[in-house]
Structure formats: C-alpha cells, structure tokens
Subunit: 389 residues, 2 copies
C-alpha cells in the first residue's frame, strides 16, 4: 500500500512554527464517526477513526482504532494501541501528552470536537489548558485550513484527474440519455447506477459522494432526497445529475442540468440565467479577489432575473467534497458578521462554481464546474453544460 | 412524495412528558454537514440540514436549509425560512424560542453539537439556560435514544425488507464468485459494483454505506481503506465483503467472509472461531440480558483461541447503520466507566452480531448478521455464511 501525506514538508514546518509562535504545545485532531475531520488524513496519511497528537516540535503520535491499518498507511513517529491503555483513547492521549510535556501545557483541539468530548478532555487533562479557538481568533485550526486551501502540485494532479474522469462521464451520460430517449420511462436510479459504474470504468477510485439525480417532478430540491429514486427522467421539464469521481482520495463535483422532453419558456430562462451567472462568476475569479465578491456578482444576475439562489455559489474541493474555501455572500446577521473570516482567492485554490435556481412550480436548474484559481484568472477543470437530447 | 415520521404518537407524547418532568422548555436538534443527527429525521421526517426546535408542549418548528424540501417531506407545525432572519439559523431560532418562551427558559441541545456552536448558542440566548447533558445524567437526549432503540412495527417491516434484499444479494454474490473462479483476476471493485447494482435491482433504495471489499492481501483491516480497490480476490487466503441495502431509509448491514482459493490451517481456524463466537452470541441474546454480557461471552471464545477481536461485537440498526444500541465490553478506564450506561436488551431492538479476528500475517475474518431481539431469544434477519467456491 502506498503512503501519501498530502501536506508538504514546507507547509508542515510552517504549521509547527505557527504553533510555537502561538505558544501551543500540542495540537489534537479528533476524527471519529459522526465527527469527521479530514485534517487527520492531511497531516498523517491515516484515513479515519483516530486521534492525532502533533507536538509543536513536529513529533506526531497517532492513536487509531485500527492499529494494523495505521501502521500500513500513516507516516507518523509513533502509532499507539489504545487497547493497552484501558481501551481508552483518552487514557492513551493523556499519558502521551504528559510524558512529553509534564502536567502543565497548552493544547489546542480542532473545532469540530463535540461539546461533551471537550469537557471530558478538560477534566482529565487538568491542570493543562485545553482550548478550542474560533477561526477569526487566529487559531492554529484556521491557519491549517488556509494551508489546506492552497493545493500542492500533487494535489492538483489528483484533482485534475478526478475532474477529467467526471467530465468524460458527462459525455457518457449524454450518449446514455440519447439511447434512452425512445423509452417511455428512464428512472433516476438507472442514470445514477450508469454514472457510478462509468466512473469506475474510467479509472476513478470511487464516487466523491452519493450521486444525486432529480427528475422534473423534484428538481426543485437543492439536494434531492432520496438521492436517486424511481422518478421518470423522460418527461417534460428540468432534470439534473450532481455527481463526481474521486481519485487518490481527491474529489471532483459536477452538476449537469438536462431535459429529455420539452421545456416551458420560464424553464428555458432558468437555464439561461444560471449559464449567465456561471459565466460572470468565472470571469471574475482570479488571485486577490474576495470569494464573497464573486458570489455577489452571480447573485445579482439571478436576482435581476427575479429568481433566487438559496445556497452558496461554490466551495473548495480536495480531500473533502466540501473542502476549505467558499464563494458565499457576506453574512447579514451581526453576530455571524463578527466571526466572519472573508476568503481572498489565491493561486492554486480549487473551487466549484455552481449557480442554481429552484422553484416549486418550474423545477430547478444548477450548473456546476470545478476551477483552479490562477494569477490572472482561472483554469476550468470540468466541462458541464445543459444537455438536451 | 410520501411523508414518514418514524416516532409514533405514543412515544412522542412520552418524550414530551419527559421534557416537562425535567423542566426542559425546549429541545434543539442540530443536523448540519460534519455534524449529522438522525433524531432530526426521527422526530420531523425531514432528512438533513436543519434545526428542529421541539417545545415541551409538542409544538415542532423546523428551520431547514431547503425550505421547499421541508414543506414536502416534514411533518411539523411550522417551517421557517432562515433567509428571512438575516440568513441566520441562529437568528431565526432565537426569535422562535423567545416568542414562545420569553427570554428566560431552559433549552437542552443534543450532545452531537460542536463546542463552538454551543458557546455561540449560550451567548446569543442569554439569559436562557442552554444545556448539553451526558447520557448517564438522565438527559432527554439519552431518553430519546432509548425510545429509538426499540423499533416500531413499521420500522421492523422496513428493516426486515432491507435485510431480505441484502441476503438475496449474498446468494447473487456466491453465484458471481463461482462464475469468476476461472478468471485469473477478479478485483474488489468488480465485486463491489456487482453487489451495489444487485441491491438496486432487487428493490433496495440504495446502499446503507459504501461497500467494503478486501482481498486476502488486506483483509487484516477492520474497515478497509480505500473501501474497494484493485486487489485480486482470486488468490489464496481470506477475503470479505461488508455491505447492506437501505429500504425507506432503514439500513441493513452484513459481512460475508469468503475464499476463492486455498486457506491455511490457521485461516480455517479463524473462520471456525468467528462462527463459534457468533453462534454463542446469538444463543445468549434475549430480552433482559445486558449487551456487554453477550459481548463478553463471544470475546472469551475468541481469546480462548488465542485470537483478538479489536472492535465491538455489534451495534443497533435503524435510520443509521450505527443506530443506538451496542453489544460492547464494559469499559476498563475508570473515567469512561463513570459515564458508562449499560444497555439491557429489550424486545424489538434490531442489532448486528459481528465477531471478527484480524492478523497482519493471516488476514481477517468477520461474520455479520442482523437480529431482532424477542422475549425469549432473537430472530435472525439475514443469513451470512463463510463462502468457498
């Protein structure tokens, strides 16, 4: 098995330096069911179900659920079997921290931690200081997210491959829709299964997330539920498929709107509006621009057409389908605004651009592509389009 | 679209009564990305991405991300569009709570909430009391989990159907392995795709979780990563597939160990040990027995064979693949033991029974079935078995 730790040596040294500057002695990442945290993978190469303790001097200790898997996949200084510590992750972590740092130290814990788990850490690690910091508080957590937002050459290579596979499957989907045009019924599930199989055939490791397919009867939903059902795609109105390939753990994400039968005048306008909003957004993306500025311009086009986009314009892509980085409007609520941390676009960020409009009466239309931010603009990594057959 | 709220009227009344007794004025459920909480679905019928406020008098207010979807799927008294409250879930929830309860009230928040989110609630809802309680503190949260552990007739109907579909697919898998015995290479991914397609063909809504397939070269991992890859199943040693169908949102979960070529003497012993441990566990399951007692007996068989089970014996099944309810050993760590809440088995619980043994040298073997607890024993809902072809 191939070991791969996404963070580069330089970035890792930079992060450890940050911990020292902030007087953080150790940093704790907690990834367990119901509480996922891709920073585990980013810093250790181990995929899931573990605690990672990173000391400010760069020493990494992993406490995994599956010790054998950790020994094969992770790149850390020590893998600890928690079963030898009264079968307690907490007990093992406590001893590891105290052995190196004594009883008084400062530990920052990643902010995905649940309230009760943190209270428990605080209690058993007393008198150590255990902190969870807000992003705008210049926390190590937010520093790490910023490092993760900028992709390395290797990460970009994997993301481009994932995007390429997904785009090829869009071509397959177009063919598949044509071949099924004469059938009275083509179900959402048939298209979902087709797309997922094609992703694997074309070399994807798997799917980035469960494929969403919505027929005209339910394309009004942003994320349709159930993800794909018995709805008939071969009827008048707007349908869509939202899906992506993963490659070496890196996620692509595309939404393709399509119609197998007639559209109303309003539905055609919906397609035009999202096309225009996406075009405008992509024109505005380049290093130095704020994410919310790009979102504002796309949002204006949609509002000017008397339509409504009930979600953000885009999000980061990487180890997670929703990786750090957002193209979202400025918060209006003063409490949220206080903690707001606007994101300035930088070279080598990878983001989705996905304007969408939804109406209970007319259905929904979303057009989603993945882009790589460059110094002067962006490179479009996928090729989504409205498909009619 | 069909509305379905899993909790029955009686159980709902019981839960509201509990809130009143504990002087909880309102109960808040938070389900967002990275912080999932199936109680949202259980109480409101709405699948995801929302806040649910339940007042002790039974009044339910939903604040969803997707308002149209909520209006179609949920059964609540009011659906609120948070975009009308400065695009803030917090702002909307605050007004809804204060309108009904004034400024001073007691709110219990479900324990999956992140530390920072809870701090934020506490701040903006001042002077209200905002609590998150530990399970053994007789929290409403733990009361609700107990209600969810006991399945209703409708839930059992859905779970049985999911289990039936999954068992049928085990038959399909056996055929598929036979047909591919003469091929030099059969990859993990080929089997995963086959099983997932069969689940849909046989009427499953989808898969309960991403299918795990491990060839002899990596069956030593409890949950193999990546989930299914290019590993060759057609070689000597132990392989396994861990998968399940979902039906109306209810999850089945089976693990089938198999061998397409020869096994060593030790590998055969591993199969025998998990078969014996599973048989023994199932014999011991009935209403009134503690989950940890069942786990202890299975664990003893494995330890007596000088092998090691690095995970729990079983878990609840329902709206989640890992639903409330565990067959796990007693904690050893005194801090964990203090908060331990042993589960007594009751009629109409649905659980997995899945002993497993793993060795870096010999590979792994896990045998997993789903059972329904009855007054005098249990009903086995699936039919897993070690397959040789």
């Amino acid at each position: 098995m191939r070991k791969f730790v996404p963070i580069t040596k330089d970035k890792f040294a930079d992060f450890c330096q940050h911990l020292k500057q902030k007087n953080i002695d150790a940093y704790l990442i907690w990834d367990m069911e119901g509480n996922r945290n891709a920073n585990l993978k980013y810093l250790s190469g181990h995929p899931e179900d573990a605690i990672l303790i990173l000391f400010a001097d760069g020493h990494k200790v992993l406490i995994p659920w599956d010790t054998i898997l950790a020994k094969k996949l992770s790149k850390v200084d020590l893998v600890v079997n928690f079963k030898k510590f009264g079968k307690s992750y907490f007990g093992a972590a406590k001893l590891i921290l105290q052995e190196k740092l004594g009883k008084e130290f400062t530990l920052e814990v990643e902010s995905n931690i649940s309230y009760l788990t943190l209270q428990f850490w605080k209690k058993i690690l007393k008198p150590a200081k255990v902190k969870v910091l807000r992003p705008n508080n210049n926390s190590a957590n937010s520093y790490l997210r910023k490092l993760r937002m900028i992709k390395t050459a290797k990460e970009i290579e994997y993301l481009k491959k994932a995007c390429q596979i997904t785009t090829q499957v869009v071509g397959d989907i177009e063919e598949f829709l044509k071949q099924n045009k004469s059938k009275k019924i083509l179900t959402e599930i048939e298209l979902a299964v087709f797309a997922e199989n094609k992703i694997r055939e074309r070399g994807g490791d798997g799917i980035s997330f469960e494929t969403l397919v919505a027929c005209p009867k339910r394309s009004w939903s942003i994320h349709t539920y159930p993800r794909a059902g018995q709805g008939n795609l071969n009827q008048p109105g707007l349908s869509l498929i939202d899906f992506g390939a993963s490659y070496h753990g890196y996620c692509a994400d595309m939404t393709v709107p399509f119609a197998m039968k007639k559209l109303t005048k309003h539905q055609k306008q919906m397609v035009e509006v999202v096309e225009k909003a996406q075009y405008e957004a992509i024109q505005n993306i380049k290093e130095g621009v704020f994410g919310y500025e790009v979102a504002q311009k796309a949002d204006k086009i949609i509002r000017d057409a008397h339509m409504n986009m009930p979600h953000g314009l885009g999000h980061g892509l990487g180890l997670e389908t929703h990786d750090p980085g957002r193209l979202s409007l400025k918060p209006e609520d003063p409490n949220l605004l206080k903690n707001w941390n606007p994101i300035k676009l930088q070279k080598n960020m990878v983001l989705t651009v996905e304007p969408g409009v939804y109406s209970q009466k007319h259905g929904g239309c979303r057009l989603e592509d993945d882009i790589l931010v460059t110094a002067n603009g962006c490179q479009i990594l996928t090729s989504s389009r409205f498909i009619t057959v």
